[in-house]
């Protein structure tokens, strides 16, 4: 039954700045199945965010293969990538990244507005549902600045959910939250996973990583086995 959503082989990413080459990713292999909850961890600078950006089609790899829902994404043009991002991917950021000029409801509706042909009623329905899902429906008309950090992140989750994406990508979603709020967001993600969502989350916190069914460890741009990681960490 396992349906592979993400399949990555031999992926590399090199940044060139002022003639310095940074090998952010050097040969990553990984797969994510539908319905999986994957936590990605590793030391700072090991390439977690970079990998997540590539998975989320925000960035392109230097080399390697990446198939999303069985489709090769290497040859997609800009607008195709925008469309797939909009339909298949839901982003949750560390710093929430809600848009201050828009209300909670408008923030959640935003990805739907980039989808051509969705009727207004349908959009409103989805916004309502996603906000209810994260328990923020009562704050629809508020502005992000009027919410606490935890509430903002819940709205951000609702925004990621609204487009019913194939996969939720979260980059340290609790990084800017205290432990209580962080715990609540984690609880939310877990519930979503229980309801069938596919989640790939970057986190530093081993407690939160434990929420996931599977952990991927990144070290120096490569995926390493768990045991291997502690070995490597000890070496440093």
């Amino acid at each position: 039954m396992a349906e592979t959503i993400i399949e990555i082989e031999q992926l590399t990413k090199v940044f060139y700045t002022d003639e310095i080459e940074t090998h952010a990713l050097s040969g990553v292999h990984m797969q994510i199945q539908r319905g999986e909850y994957v936590a990605m961890s590793g030391p700072s600078g090991c390439g977690k965010s970079t990998l997540l950006s590539i998975i989320g089609l925000l960035d392109t790899p230097t080399s390697g293969r990446y198939q999303l829902n069985g489709k090769e994404v290497a040859n997609l043009n800009f607008s195709d990538r925008s469309r797939i991002r909009n339909q298949e991917i839901g982003f949750i950021f560390q710093s929430f990244n809600l848009i201050g000029d828009l209300t909670v409801a408008e923030n959640v509706e935003l990805p739907l507005t980039y989808r051509s042909g969705m009727p207004v009623a349908e959009r409103k329905k989805r916004v309502q549902e996603s906000l209810e899902r994260v328990n923020m429906a009562h704050r629809m008309r508020h502005y992000p600045a009027q919410l606490s950090g935890g509430q903002q992140q819940r709205v951000a989750v609702a925004r990621a959910l609204a487009g019913s994406p194939s996969i939720l990508l979260a980059d340290e979603p609790t990084g800017n939250l205290d432990s209580k709020n962080g715990e609540a967001v984690m609880q939310l993600l877990k519930e979503l996973h229980d309801e069938g969502a596919t989640i790939c989350m970057v986190t530093h916190d081993p407690r939160f990583a434990a929420h996931a069914e599977r952990q991927i460890h990144l070290f120096d741009g490569k995926v390493v086995a768990e045991g291997e990681l502690s070995h490597l960490m000890a070496e440093v």
């Binding site: 989320g56 800009f78 607008s79 710093s95 848009i99 000029d101 980039y114």
Partner: protein
């Protein structure tokens, strides 16, 4: 002191760090300040400048219109501004309130003097003279540059003939030769002593691009005056003098005006014109208006006044737009640095010090802008003056921007820079540093946004008003220029000359004219040649009331005036009058043949409106006794000779040398032709020197006063209109540019500020189109609100320019649409650049900056 230097150095470094901001600000300041300084310099020079006289406040002009040059009859509104010599004497004797009251010739046109120095081999030159009373220079209180000026003792019968030369003529034509002073010149064939040279700053008693070269005592008028070779001195019915006097301090001008008006009526009552019963109302209403004379006879000021005032308004709007730009730029910068400021405050920086730094930066920036503005002002003034007086020989204006004006514009932009530069710093420094740090993370909204947007909206609205104004002016000009004057201008040349200055007697004229036409015909390439009193669209006009045989006498209010001139054979052909009925003027119409006239269509329409046959009708111009003077023998097509905004006047044409039977003594001045018109077969090289030589061969004193192509003469009629239209256009484009820069700046800033947001949107699936649309929507919203305000505002403002327009309704849909279109395109361009930049945001990087 040390700290100041440090602050300035720091400010310069900060400015260098953001070259885009600095350059935009400096260019905006330079254009705003420079353009205004240039316009105000022109205005100051033309409208506000006093004569270089000792006490301009005490100078009073008697009269307030630009009536010219020799007129009879009742003036418009019964308002006397030009006077007969005897009337002048009467007024002078009855007004002891004047310390001294001078009179001077009203028209200083083509009629000139032919001057030859005593230098062996020097050729006669055509110069301009102005006849003035002996107290002229005393009234003005001028000191000579060399020699002496005219004294009352020069202006009496029997005094040796002496004249004063203008400094400009002395420089231009006589190489500033000191030996000119005291030497004897031959002026109009008479030996005359050059008494002295006027001071260099004196350009005559009125502003003109062709000031007089010689000032001539009134007593010499018969030989040098506008009536030469006849005299106007003792003509009681001809008004031809302006009056300018110096009043005794403390004189009540209102009282004096009433007194002079009464004195005027006393005199007028003695004239036959006012003794008629139907003229009593005119007599009772006759009056003078006293006007300030410190700036001389302000004809040009009146002529240019409306246009210049409009330009002042326009340039003030440009300055406003420039200031809005500066405000915007400073705001943007201040807001962008708010985070930096709050970090500095958190690190313990003193509020006063931060504000002082901002202040220093604003001042340094304004100074740089001011310096650049100075350059623009100097260059701009030169350009403006060249545009304002395209044919000037000696420009009566100094092309130096006045310090006051520069100072004002500079201070204004400095103030703008300071207020808007320091305000963000002040606001930031008064908020809690912690707030600022926290705030930036939680929300991307920005409270200064509305102020910036309002400024842009204001700019858009103002630019639209200016564009509409410029569009209307341009359309009006093009209608003026492209109207059908009836003339043919290709391969046509106008030569002005002055047989009276060359000393010809009336009985010599026939021979002279025959010889001139003959010799010119003999020139290779010359096809036709004709003499005339004056030519179309040169600014000259002779007019008289017409009395037609078999009609009742026209009443006092009747509009029976018609313009006229004398023309030779071939004239109609050359100018483009087509003979519609009867015949034209021919070589057979001589001094002794049957007196005839040819009239134009407008004349027929005016005087034969009931379909009577004009051919064979008789009329005259000296009252009912003269109705049999001339017979109409032909009708020609209309041509506009004067005011291009009005319909063609009724005109009639007389042979060159026929003298009216009635009052023949007043009909001799016009026997002296003033112009020669030529047609050539294609382009003829060197024609001008050939014509000059031909005339000089006939008589060395036959100098060419003015040589021009007919086309250039016609085009010259639009100089003023063209200048105003061009300047308005220039300024409105400037305004548009500044407004576009403003919109661009705000949009670019907003894009920069919203980069993280744009990154988020892209992460959520916004495509390039979505991002471009989002940015453009915001930019265009400002433009559209600007239009929404600007369109009705422009609709109201056009009333101000309506009087300047020709055949263009103030609410011209095409101009309005065009202006809206231009503004929209400018706004699109200004928005598109930042929108493009926004669309190429790299979402990964954008998100990373969070």
């Amino acid at each position: 002191m040390n700290r100041l230097v440090q602050d300035i150095k720091f400010a310069l470094r900060q400015l260098r760090k953001s070259p885009g901001f600095t350059i935009t600000a400096i260019v905006t300041l330079a254009l705003g300040i420079g353009a205004n300084a240039a316009i105000f310099t022109l205005v100051h020079a033309v409208l506000l400048k006093n004569l270089p006289v000792s006490d301009p406040k005490l100078l009073v002009r008697v009269g307030d219109t630009d009536d010219c040059c020799v007129e009879g009859g009742v003036p418009d509104q019964r308002d006397y501004s030009i006077f007969a010599f005897e009337l002048y004497q009467h007024l002078r004797e009855n007004t002891p309130e004047f310390e001294s009251l001078a009179a001077m010739q009203a028209g200083v046109g083509y009629a000139g003097v032919t001057a030859r120095s005593n230098k062996p081999g020097d050729l006669p030159r055509a110069e301009r003279g102005e006849v003035v009373t002996g107290n002229y220079f005393q009234v003005l209180g001028l000191q000579p540059y060399a020699g002496r000026l005219i004294l009352p003792s020069d202006d009496v019968q029997g005094a040796p003939m002496g004249v004063v030369m203008s400094y400009q003529a002395w420089q231009r034509d006589y190489a500033s030769d000191p030996s000119v002073v005291g030497s004897t010149f031959v002026l109009n064939t008479y030996p005359v002593t050059i008494l002295g040279i006027t001071p260099p700053s004196f350009y005559g008693d009125r502003m003109t691009s062709a000031p007089p070269d010689f000032y001539i005592p009134m007593v010499m008028e018969p030989n040098f005056g506008p009536g030469n070779p006849t005299s106007l001195l003792h003509r009681r019915d001809a008004n031809w003098l302006y009056l300018l006097g110096k009043i005794k301090p403390g004189t009540d001008l209102k009282q004096l005006e009433a007194k002079m008006s009464a004195s005027l009526r006393n005199y007028l009552a003695t004239l036959p014109l006012y003794q008629r019963q139907d003229r009593q109302a005119d007599l009772a209403g006759a009056h003078v208006v006293l006007t300030p004379g410190g700036a001389g006879i302000e004809n040009m000021q009146q002529e240019y006044g409306v246009g210049l005032k409009m330009l002042i308004t326009v340039s003030a709007l440009v300055l406003l737009i420039a200031c809005a730009n500066i405000a915007n730029l400073m705001l943007v910068r201040g807001m962008a640095r708010r985070a930096e400021t709050s970090i500095r405050m958190a690190l313990g920086a003193q509020r006063a010090r931060l504000i002082r730094q901002m202040l220093t930066e604003s001042v340094v920036l304004s100074c740089l802008g001011g310096l650049a503005g100075l350059l623009v002002a100097y260059a701009g003034t030169k350009v403006l003056l060249a545009m304002a007086f395209p044919h000037a020989q000696s420009l009566p204006i100094e092309a130096t921007p006045s310090l006051v004006v520069l100072g004002f514009a500079f201070a204004l932009s400095l103030l703008t820079g300071l207020i808007f530069g320091v305000a963000p710093a002040w606001v930031t420094s008064h908020s809690q540093p912690a707030d600022a740090l926290r705030g930036s993370n939680r929300t991307t909204s920005d409270r200064s946004g509305w102020l910036q947007r309002s400024l842009v909206i204001l700019q858009a609205a103002l630019s639209l008003i200016l564009l509409v104004g410029a569009g209307l002016m341009a359309k009006s000009l093009s209608k003026l220029e492209n109207q059908d004057f009836g003339v043919v201008t290709q391969n046509r040349v106008v030569v002005h000359f002055s047989p009276e200055s060359a000393g010809y007697k009336q009985e010599q004229l026939q021979g002279l004219y025959d010889k001139i036409i003959n010799d010119l015909h003999a020139l290779p390439g010359v096809d036709k040649a004709a003499l005339s009193l004056y030519t179309p669209l040169e600014g000259n006009n002779w007019g008289e009331g017409v009395y037609i045989q078999g009609r009742p006498e026209p009443g006092a209010q009747a509009k029976n005036g018609a313009s006229w001139l004398r023309v030779g054979p071939e004239y109609f052909d050359i100018v483009g009058h087509r003979v519609l009925r009867g015949r034209g003027i021919t070589a057979q119409d001589t001094a002794t043949s049957l007196p005839v006239v040819v009239v134009n269509e407008a004349f027929v329409k005016k005087f034969f409106s009931n379909g009577e046959n004009p051919l064979g009708a008789h009329f005259g111009i000296s009252g009912m006794e003269s109705v049999g003077d001339w017979e109409i023998v032909g009708v020609v097509s209309d041509i506009k000779y004067n005011d291009l905004r009005r319909p063609t006047r009724a005109m009639y044409f007389r042979p060159l040398l026929q003298v009216a039977h009635t009052k023949s003594q007043t009909d001799t001045r016009s026997l002296y032709a003033g112009a020669i018109m030529l047609t050539t077969k294609g382009q003829v090289g060197n024609l001008e020197s050939q014509v000059r030589r031909t005339l000089a061969n006939i008589n060395p004193n036959l100098t060419v006063v003015d040589y021009n192509t007919f086309e250039a003469q016609v085009r010259g009629q639009f100089d003023q209109e063209r200048m105003i239209a061009r300047l308005t256009l220039m300024f409105s484009l400037l305004a548009l540019m500044l407004a576009a820069v403003g919109l661009y700046g705000v949009t670019a800033y907003s894009v920069a500020r919203r980069t993280p947001e744009i990154g988020v949107r892209m992460a959520l699936g916004a495509g390039r189109g979505n991002v471009v649309a989002m940015v453009m929507r915001e930019a265009m919203l400002q433009a559209i609100i600007g239009l929404a305000i600007g369109i009705p505002a422009a609709w109201l403002c056009v009333r101000l320019v309506q009087s300047q327009l020709y055949n263009v309704g103030g609410h011209d849909a095409m101009v309005m649409t065009g202006s809206v279109l231009v503004l929209t395109i400018a706004a699109l361009l200004a928005g598109l650049i930042p929108a493009q930049r926004a669309a190429s945001t790299d979402p990964v990087k954008a998100l990373r900056t969070e």
